[in-house]
């Protein structure tokens, strides 16, 4: 897959006026069916050359007073005219939809999954040709053969910053059938991508705050706490719990998934934090790394860094919450002074 980079120069060229006009004309939707409003069509360079060729044949025919040359040039002009409609009609057969983007880390390559939904129809009314896909603000794109390839497109996203990004429009272009016209559209799939910070190794403070008994009072805590100590009871398996806790013998016997829960004598709840002196982004990356580590070990953890306060817990959802908090962290509360540190 080609790596798509955001070209700041091109971004500047995209005037906001054009984008607002597009927003009015082609509003954001999760699924788009192309129609007159959303399709733009113009001849390609080859198309212009074709027209020039027909014109020169016409001139040749007039000068030689040769009627069949004239007839041929009229034929070429009609072919050009009809190709316009063929190309437009082909593009209008496309139904494009995009699935919500799953969050990813900054150093990973995220993808947008776009589904081209014309392959359900019988072959005769399916869209054909090569569909060129790219983000509106980039130059390099990805070509997809509508006839032979699967109906799912993966369009890579690379962003430079963590956080919640509203994804820009996707440009689809097709030149079927004769390459005389290029037919394109800019579609907004109403997608937002959440980019977690990249994980970086480093030292983080894992502050353990001991909890005196009273765990019994907090029933919810008990269910989610899974320490390493004595085996306490069997509990129903819940999604996201690590698989090494599953009692496989029971599974084989009864088909029901159960996990072992252990009693945690000393409930130590770990809080992750980092000194404020370290650069924010670096700190966030280190915290991300530790979140991932703690999660893989199955230990409960929380975060206590600047304005992020997350109560200790475990599980997939908790991990997502933590990472989201880290991703969305913005430094605005802090007074911007270099001297204060």
């Amino acid at each position: 897959m080609n790596v798509v980079r955001m070209n700041t120069a091109i971004k500047k060229k995209l005037s906001t006026r054009f984008l607002t006009w597009l927003d009015k004309r082609i509003p954001a939707k999760q699924q788009h069916t192309l129609d007159l409003n959303s399709i733009f069509i113009l001849p390609t360079t080859f198309g212009w050359a074709f027209i020039a060729m027909s014109l020169s044949l016409f001139l040749l025919g007039t000068n030689y007073q040769n009627n069949i040359m004239l007839l041929m040039s009229y034929l070429l002009v009609s072919v050009m005219l009809l190709a316009l409609f063929y190309t437009h009609r082909n593009m209008a057969k496309l139904k494009l939809s995009a699935a919500p983007v799953s969050p990813f880390h900054l150093n990973e390559a995220g993808v947008t999954v776009i589904k081209v939904d014309s392959n359900q129809q019988p072959e005769s009314i399916r869209a054909s040709g090569i569909l060129h896909v790219k983000w509106i603000d980039t130059t390099e794109g990805h070509s997809h053969n509508l006839t032979t390839e699967s109906p799912t497109l993966l369009l890579p996203i690379t962003v430079k910053k963590r956080g919640l990004h509203r994804l820009s429009r996707v440009t689809f272009m097709c030149e079927y059938p004769l390459g005389l016209y290029k037919c394109w559209t800019h579609l907004d799939f109403d997608l937002t991508a959440l980019v977690y910070p990249a994980a970086a190794r480093g030292m983080a403070n894992i502050v353990a705050i001991a909890h005196d008994d009273d765990i019994n009072n907090d029933a919810s805590v008990r269910n989610t706490v899974q320490g390493n100590s004595d085996f306490h009871a069997l509990a129903d398996y819940e999604q996201g719990q690590p698989l090494n806790r599953v009692v496989w013998k029971q599974v084989a016997k009864s088909g029901k998934w159960v996990t072992k829960t252990f009693d945690e004598h000393k409930h130590s709840q770990h809080y992750l934090s980092i000194a404020n002196t370290i650069d924010t982004e670096k700190a966030l990356s280190i915290l991300t790394f530790h979140v991932l580590e703690m999660d893989s070990k199955g230990l409960p953890y929380g975060i206590n860094y600047k304005s992020i306060h997350v109560a200790p817990s475990c599980g997939l959802q908790h991990k997502a919450d933590c990472l989201t908090a880290l991703a969305m962290f913005s430094d605005t509360n802090q007074t911007a002074t270099g001297a204060s540190t």
Binding site: F46, M53, N63, Y74
Partner: protein
């Protein structure tokens, strides 16, 4: 917006199994194009193109690599040098075509990206255009349209890799079929413009006639059967003996060659400038009522000759703009005939060719080189002593031809020195130019102004009122100025009268010669072949008349017929209605008709069957499911009805629970099955109702 796309880098074209097919097709079509142009191309250019096609085909067969850039550059430089060397001798048009062919071949050898392919396509289109300069028949049109369709198929294949070949060709075929009506409409309506500038002409054209005749020249024409022109008369064709088509008058003789006199050219120009009226109107025997209108369609000659029947003049005002009568009664077009052109003339059968400038013409036509052909001069002196009038002199010359055993042949011996002496006294065998030359010279010596006229004689009847005149009908005869009028004398009539009355082929047959000595001559005489040939000639004639001869006048006539007078408002109406018709055609092509899909047909059938069941059993279905319903009423049904009903239900359920991506074939099969089952069900119901009726009847005797 376009700037965004100018940098759009397309990934390398997706290589699939048949990705080489477009290249193969384009090279094949290029090969055929080159073959069709072979008369215009130099031999080494043909070889180069052949190599290019071969390389491309080999690359396709073996998936091998292409030629390198350096080889191509080297070849390019060499070819340009060679073309520059030869270019001057073959003329501008041919060198341009050769240059185009070379560029195309070199590009074919090395196609690296989209741009190259598109370039190749465009140059092939232009080559097709050039092909039409040389070939104008309907076969050429059909052939080139096939080449165009192959080119379009290769382009379509290039832009949609992976699609089946049949699908792509079907697409291109429908595209072309839909484009044709629009093209024809445009052709009928778009105004025919006059040539905007002078185009380079092909040097090696077979013009047939030339402005100078040395006996021995015209023998080469008799071999050619290419069409010179076609004449269409309203009803009857004039008799063969009257079919003299005048091309030009040759009044200057140097002892060997007759040529158009420069003095004549100057005089014509001066007289034109002075706006003197046409000689026909001045002629005393100009009689309007006997005039016969006819139409000429002349093949391209690059000359301004119009072969009018003696004596002809333009038919009406528009014709007069295109064609004028010279003072020697020959017709000239205003512009050279570059493409097939139609002329509308009137023929005055009884008109005399009165000399409009008697003094000048006498002087011009009495000149002869006194030191040439002395024997003839002596002989003429003896003739004049006996004769007492110019007519008598002419007659005695003609009698000489008749009595002295002259023969008509297309292959006389060469007569390099004193040709007329040799012809009259030694050889005594030749063709029309020999006879005409000898007679004209003799008359001049006798003091009778005489000139040679060249043109065509006779013609072949194609159909009612239509004559076709071919290059082998070229003829030369004599005119003598007697009592102020030019009188025609045709010495060939003394020797080979059949040549004039029946035609060249028969005349030669009398002398045991054949016009065309080829292997196929026995074949070509067969009756069926002549029938087929005649049919093709008819087709070609209709093509010429309706398509190629469709010029401004025809277009105006057509519009006139459709709309009456042509005013500017009516023209705008025509323009708007053309656009409307094209728009209508586009709507027809592209707005899909709502044909009932198979699915709705299927459902309708099934529901109809259920309804007939309801009617039969008088038990309404309501909202019950089909299977449930039939099970409910199964007691009241006969075995056959029950059987077909359940079978139909099974098919119905199977159809609707099929995967949505199921084969079209399966769906079609299901539909057919349902049709059969419904039919079965209906017959069973009908039978059952009849039985119950009969049963009821039987119960009540």
């Amino acid at each position: 917006m376009n700037t965004l796309f100018s940098g759009f880098k397309r990934s390398r074209s997706l290589q699939t199994a048949n990705s080489d097919l477009p290249y193969l097709l384009i090279s094949l079509s290029f090969g055929v194009l080159i073959l069709s142009l072979f008369e215009a191309l130099l031999s080494w250019v043909l070889v180069l193109s052949g190599c290019a096609v071969f390389i491309r085909v080999a690359a396709f067969a073996k998936h091998g690599s292409q030629a390198s850039m350096r080889t191509i550059n080297l070849l390019a430089v060499l070819s340009l040098f060679a073309l520059a060397w030869f270019g001057l001798s073959i003329g501008l048009l041919n060198s341009m075509i050769n240059l185009l062919a070379i560029a195309c071949s070199l590009k074919l050898m090395l196609i690296q990206n989209r741009r190259d392919f598109h370039l190749l396509f465009c140059t092939s289109l232009f080559l097709i255009g050039c092909g039409f300069i040389f070939a104008l028949s309907i076969y050429a049109w059909v052939g080139y349209t096939c080449i165009l369709s192959i080119l379009l198929v290769s382009l379509a294949l290039y832009h949609s890799p992976g699609k089946r070949f049949l699908d792509t060709s079907a697409l291109v075929a429908t595209l072309l079929a839909k484009a044709f009506p629009i093209a024809i409409l445009l052709f009928l309506v778009m105004p025919q413009l006059p040539p905007l500038w002078q185009m380079p002409t092909a040097k090696s054209q077979q013009t047939g006639l030339a402005e100078s005749v040395t006996p021995g020249d015209i023998a080469s024409l008799a071999q050619s059967s290419s069409l010179a022109f076609t004449a269409t008369f309203d009803n009857t064709i004039p008799p063969m003996s009257a079919l003299y088509w005048r091309a030009m008058t040759l009044e200057s003789f140097d002892g060997k060659t007759w040529a158009v006199s420069d003095k004549r050219r100057q005089a014509e120009q001066q007289l034109k400038g002075m706006n003197r009226p046409s000689p026909l109107s001045a002629s005393s025997s100009y009689n309007d009522t006997n005039a016969k209108a006819y139409q000429l369609i002349i093949e391209p000659t690059q000359q301004r000759w119009v072969f009018g029947l003696e004596v002809s003049a333009p038919n009406n005002a528009t014709s007069s703009a295109n064609v004028s009568v010279q003072f020697d009664y020959a017709l000239r077009a205003r512009r050279p005939v570059m493409g097939k052109k139609a002329f509308y003339l009137s023929y005055y059968p009884n008109a005399l060719l009165t000399s409009p400038l008697e003094g000048f013409e006498r002087q011009l036509n009495l000149n002869y080189p006194t030191d040439s052909n002395l024997k003839t001069q002596a002989w003429v002196d003896t003739l004049t002593q006996e004769a007492n009038s110019p007519q008598a002199v002419a007659h005695s010359i003609m009698r000489y031809f008749q009595e002295q055993g002259f023969t008509y042949t297309l292959e006389p011996n060469a007569m390099p020195s004193s040709p007329i002496d040799t012809f009259l006294f030694t050889e005594r065998a030749g063709f029309c130019a020999h006879y005409a030359s000898a007679m004209a010279f003799a008359l001049r010596v006798a003091g009778v102004p005489a000139r040679m006229v060249s043109g065509y004689q006779g013609g072949e009847t194609l159909s009612q009122g239509v004559l076709q005149i071919r290059q082998y009908n070229a003829h030369a005869w004599v005119e003598a100025l007697i009592d102020g009028d030019w009188v025609r004398y045709d010495p060939t009539s003394m020797v080979a009268p059949s040549r004039l009355s029946i035609g060249l082929e028969h005349a030669l047959a009398e002398f045991g010669e054949q016009r065309n000595k080829s292997v196929f001559s026995s074949l070509t005489r067969g009756q069926w072949f002549l029938n087929v040939q005649s049919w093709f000639r008819q087709l070609d004639y209709s093509w010429s008349k309706w398509v190629l001869g469709f010029d401004k006048k025809n277009q105006n006539d057509l519009l006139h017929k459709l709309l009456g007078e042509i005013t500017s408002t009516r023209l705008t109406i025509i323009l708007l209605s053309t656009i409307a018709i094209i728009a209508l055609l586009l709507v027809l092509y592209f707005v899909p008709l709502r044909a009932p899909s198979n699915e709705t047909k299927f459902n309708r059938l099934f529901l109809h069957a259920l309804k007939s069941l309801e009617r039969y059993t008088q038990h309404p279905r309501g909202t019950t499911a089909a299977r449930h319903y039939v099970t409910e009423i199964s007691n009241t049904l006969t075995k056959e009805i029950r059987h077909s009903a359940f079978a139909a239900i099974t098919v119905y359920e199977g159809y609707h629970y099929m995967s949505p991506c199921a084969d079209e074939k399966k769906k079609a099969l299901a539909l057919k099955e349902m049709k059969n089952l419904v039919k079965q069900l209906n017959t069973a119901i009908v039978k059952a109702s009849k039985d119950t009726k009969n049963g009821a009847h039987h119960r009540h005797p």
